[in-house]
Structures are given as structure tokens and as C-alpha cells.
């Protein structure tokens, strides 16, 4: 049996009438374990869904092929939350508010702050606390 992997994905739903239970089918038909971090999918509006999927590479690929039949685009890299390097002053104020250490000090000597997107669970705490508006959400 092939090895399972976990991938963090962001699905973008253009204005569509997608009322199919996509997540249900990902679980039922494609054997994927799904962990939804954040979703905003409303009829007649653009929608977003940020989630982890765990399964074999093959199952994930087939699952995403299925998702794309609904005109949904799959972003394997861009996430719902981003840190704008130009705006960040590396003060480190966000760090105590980040529950998963996605925002962390990457260099103890210079106190440089870095963002590990893979660890981000999209709680949006950083967006509320950053005084420089360096953290932002795609939706």
C-alpha cells in the first residue's frame, strides 16, 4: 500500500452554484481524511476553503480532479493567511498569540520572525494583533 501524505490546500470557489457535498465525496469516494481549518462558501459569492487532506498521493490527486470538475481551483501553495515581509518589522508581538508556533523566531541572535505556513491553523489571531497590518487573510 502506498504511503499516506498530508497536504494543506486552499480551494477557491468562483461564483458558482456548487451545492454538492464536496467534502463528503472526498471522504467517501476518495478515502481522504479531511481537516477543515476555515471555510467561507456561500451561494452566489466567491468562496474559500482551507483544509488538510491526508491520503495516498494517488487518492489526493483523484480527489482534486473530482473537485476541479466543479470549476473549483486548487491552490497547493497559497494559503489563507500570509505574512507580508515588507510590512513585518520583526517585533515578535504576534508570537505569543500564535497557538501553533507557525509564527516563530527563526534566528535567536537577530530576533528575525518567520512564518511557517504548514503549521498555520488559520485562527487569524495574528491579523488581529499585528500593529503593522503585516498579516492578512485571503478571505
Amino acid at each position: 500500500m502506498s504511503q499516506t501524505v498530508t497536504k494543506k490546500l486552499m480551494l477557491f470557489f468562483p461564483r458558482c452554484e456548487c451545492e454538492k457535498p464536496i467534502i463528503y465525496h472526498l471522504v467517501k469516494d476518495h478515502n481522504l481524511i479531511v481537516n477543515v481549518y476555515r471555510a467561507k462558501v456561500t451561494p452566489d459569492e466567491e468562496g474559500y476553503l482551507v483544509l488538510d487532506v491526508t491520503g495516498t498521493e494517488e487518492d489526493i490527486q483523484q480527489g482534486m480532479t473530482f473537485v476541479k470538475t466543479f470549476n473549483v481551483s486548487v491552490n497547493y501553495t497559497g494559503k489563507g493567511v500570509t505574512l507580508d515581509e515588507e510590512h513585518c518589522t520583526h517585533c515578535g508581538h504576534c508570537i505569543t498569540h500564535c497557538p501553533t508556533e507557525a509564527l516563530h523566531i527563526t534566528n535567536r541572535a537577530t530576533r528575525e520572525v518567520a512564518f511557517n505556513e504548514a503549521k498555520c491553523i488559520e485562527c487569524l489571531a495574528c491579523i488581529r494583533v499585528c500593529p503593522f497590518g503585516a498579516c492578512s487573510s485571503a478571505f
Partner: protein, 396 residues
């Protein structure tokens, strides 16, 4: 013993030995104080963080016909017009007109004076709207126009209080989240917030104000400015460690510089959820190594600097003066402090990363001969304390 003149001569000849306030610690440990005092000419210090008591004087020049603005807004942010006709003062914490503030608590406070200052330095086009009652010599009663910093005659930053020598560590002893100028503090001491560059911070490297005084040339966001007075609330007379390091706020500096020479990355608007707007500013100050005592004091390390932990739910707002405990900056930088037997996660509002960058930028400028040192024309008081505001009954 060295003089300012000797140090400036060495700067001019490109031979000055310049180290940052963090580099000097190891350097002196290796070389010894006496040797290092002979070799080293300048130690650069720096800080980057919120400095609410900042603002700028802008002169717009005269329109045709002329106006004496009695009320004015830049980017819808109110500016002070109680000056000559087209002079205004823009303050960093002034909120944009119509901002709902804390009507829907906690408010977002997206834009204010600090952001205008950042946009001005960035060269953006800004809107001026002014009103007047009209006079014979200044007949125009309303003006709306657009300008950039290049259009202004002067854009001079004029900050009554910057560079606090040391600062509180804020914590929340209550059972609800509180929204302060030290950021959002979670209930029941879940997190803490501090704000100082510690061992890099200017006045912590010159705790007795022996070289930093009125007239000292400073690096302000890339411009060369100077200290024009003691800062407001300057209080050098508070409690100190045996080594002379203030255990609380203590000294402050009033600074000024030409904003046309500044760089946007060091002039940054800030928004504090539930609190308001401010300005983060990057400042570098060189310390001339005139003798080995001055050098010794620049070797201060984070471990030796104590900051008071203060409850911002009750003690700070009620001005009780209570300090829960003191912690040092080495502990603060570890990301965790211990307060009354409990571990508390701690974050910073002051950017050590930016401070370090500024200390190096200033050191490079001095080494290149582009930044000369100036001897103070007056020294900051060492003994003063801060007076409270007494709420009195109207005298009979």
C-alpha cells in the same frame, strides 16, 4: 581619555573603530576594558518601536489667494493649526476623522497620524483640507488640495518624547482580554508584552546621560537629527540597580529631524486593536568612547537590565504604582518569564531585529565618515522625578 574632536578626526580620516552595542560586549570581554577604551571610538545604539509622543511640523507654503487655516485635516486626520497661517502640527496618535474608535469594541483603528507620517515619508500623494474664517490679509476660507512631501517647504519631525530609557512589561491580572498600547493582553496572565531594545537601547548604554544630551546628533529613520530637549516625563531620579541601570522608565529624549531625509521602513504607522494608532520609529544614537567608564557602561547586557512587570488591568490604569516583580531582558527575549511562580509567554513590541539593523547602518555611516559626533550643549537632569497630575477642587 579621548575628546569629541579626536574622535571626529578619526572619523574624518576613516580610521574610527566603531562597534554596535551588542558587539562591544564580547569585544571588551576579549580585549579588556583599558585596551578596548583606547581602541574603540564609538559604540552605536539603536531602538525601533512605538513612540506615541511623535509628530511633525509641516509648512505648505501659500496658496493664491492666501488662507490662514483655522482647522485642517491631512488625509482626514486632524492637524493642529494654532500656529502661523500655513504651519500645522500633525500628531502620531491622532485618529482619522469618522473612525468609529471603540464604538464597536475592540475597534480596529486602521489609520491615523502615524500612518500619515509613514505615507508622507513614502512620497505618497496626500490630501489637505483646510477651513478658515477669512481675514483681510488671508481671504480664502476653504482649501482642498493634494501634495507630496516634495511640495512642502518643511516637513520636520518634532517629537516631545522618544527613546524611553527602560519600560514596563505589561500583564493582565483580570479575567477578560484587555486592549492596551502594549497590545492585546489575554486574561489571567496568559501573556505579557515588553517594549525595549534592551542592551542595544540608547539610554541604557549611557545610563547617567554622560554623552547623550541636548544637541547630540542622532540617526532618525535615516535622517540626521538631534536631541532638542529632555523628553517629556524625563525622570532620571528613579530606582536604579547597583550598576546604575534604571529599573523603570526613567530618561527620555525630545528629538527632531528633517523628514525629507527619512526612509519609510523606519517610519511606520501602527494600529492597536481596541486602543488606537501610533508611530513606530527607528532611532540610532552613537556613544563616543571618551573614557573607560563610558565604555564600561556600553557593555551592559540584557541580563543586567531589569524591567518592572505591571498589571495593566488595574494597577496601570488606576496609577497605583504597584510592580508585581522585575524580570531581566535575557528572560524576556527567551519568550517566557516567571511571574509569582507561574510561567508566562512574553512577546515584544520593540523590534530588536530593526534596532540591530539601525545600529549597523549608523556604524557604517560613521566608518564612512558620513556621520560626525556632536558634543551636547546641555546635559539631561539626573535627579528629577515624575510628578503626578493631582485632581483638585477649584480653589476658592
Amino acid at each position: 581619555m579621548k575628546t569629541y574632536e579626536q574622535i571626529n578626526n578619526r572619523i574624518e580620516s576613516g580610521k574610527a573603530v566603531v562597534l554596535t552595542a551588542d558587539e562591544i560586549i564580547d569585544y571588551v570581554e576579549k580585549k579588556g576594558l583599558a585596551t578596548a577604551a583606547k581602541e574603540v571610538d564609538v559604540v552605536t545604539t539603536a531602538t525601533f518601536g512605538p513612540m506615541c509622543s511623535s509628530g511633525c511640523v509641516l509648512n505648505f507654503g501659500h496658496s493664491k489667494p492666501k488662507i490662514r487655516m483655522s482647522e485642517a485635516w491631512v488625509q482626514d486626520v486632524l492637524v493642529y493649526t494654532g500656529l502661523a497661517a500655513v504651519d500645522v502640527y500633525l500628531g502620531a496618535t491622532q485618529l482619522r476623522h469618522s473612525d468609529p474608535a471603540n464604538m464597536d469594541h475592540p475597534g480596529e483603528f486602521r489609520y491615523g497620524g502615524g500612518h500619515v507620517m509613514e505615507d508622507l515619508v513614502a512620497g505618497k500623494t496626500l490630501q489637505l483640507f483646510g477651513l478658515s474664517y477669512g481675514t483681510d490679509c488671508y481671504p480664502l476660507r476653504e482649501i482642498r488640495t493634494y501634495f507630496t512631501i516634495g511640495d512642502l517647504n518643511q516637513a520636520i519631525m518634532l517629537n516631545p518624547r522618544n527613546c524611553y530609557q527602560n519600560y514596563n512589561v505589561a500583564i493582565n491580572d483580570s479575567q477578560r482580554s484587555i486592549y492596551t498600547y502594549m497590545g492585546t493582553l489575554e486574561p489571567d496572565r496568559k501573556n505579557a508584552s515588553y517594549c525595549s531594545a534592551g542592551q542595544l537601547s540608547p539610554l541604557l548604554n549611557d545610563p547617567y546621560y554622560e554623552t547623550i544630551g541636548v544637541g547630540t546628533r542622532v540617526w532618525m529613520a535615516g535622517a540626521h537629527g538631534h536631541v532638542y530637549a529632555e523628553g517629556t516625563q524625563h525622570a532620571g531620579g528613579g530606582a536604579r540597580t547597583p550598576d546604575g541601570i534604571p529599573k523603570g522608565g526613567a530618561g527620555t529624549l525630545a528629538l527632531t529631524a528633517d523628514m525629507k531625509q527619512m526612509r519609510q521602513e523606519f517610519v511606520r504607522g501602527m494600529s492597536f486593536r481596541g486602543y488606537g494608532v501610533s508611530l513606530a520609529l527607528g532611532i540610532g544614537i552613537p556613544i563616543p568612547i571618551l573614557n573607560k567608564d563610558i565604555l564600561k557602561r556600553t557593555c551592559v547586557s540584557d541580563r543586567e537590565i531589569l524591567a518592572p512587570v505591571v498589571d495593566y488591568s488595574t494597577d496601570y490604569p488606576q496609577n497605583t504604582g504597584k510592580v508585581l516583580c522585575h524580570v531581566n531582558y535575557e528572560q524576556l527575549r527567551s519568550g517566557e518569564i516567571e511571574v509569582e511562580g507561574r510561567k508566562v509567554a512574553v512577546g515584544s513590541l520593540s523590534s530588536y531585529y530593526k534596532a540591530l539593523e539601525i545600529a549597523h547602518l549608523l556604524a557604517d555611516e560613521i566608518r564612512r565618515g558620513d556621520f560626525r559626533l556632536v558634543e551636547p550643549i546641555a546635559y539631561l537632569p539626573k535627579e528629577t522625578t515624575m510628578k503626578p497630575l493631582v485632581i483638585r477642587e477649584k480653589p476658592l
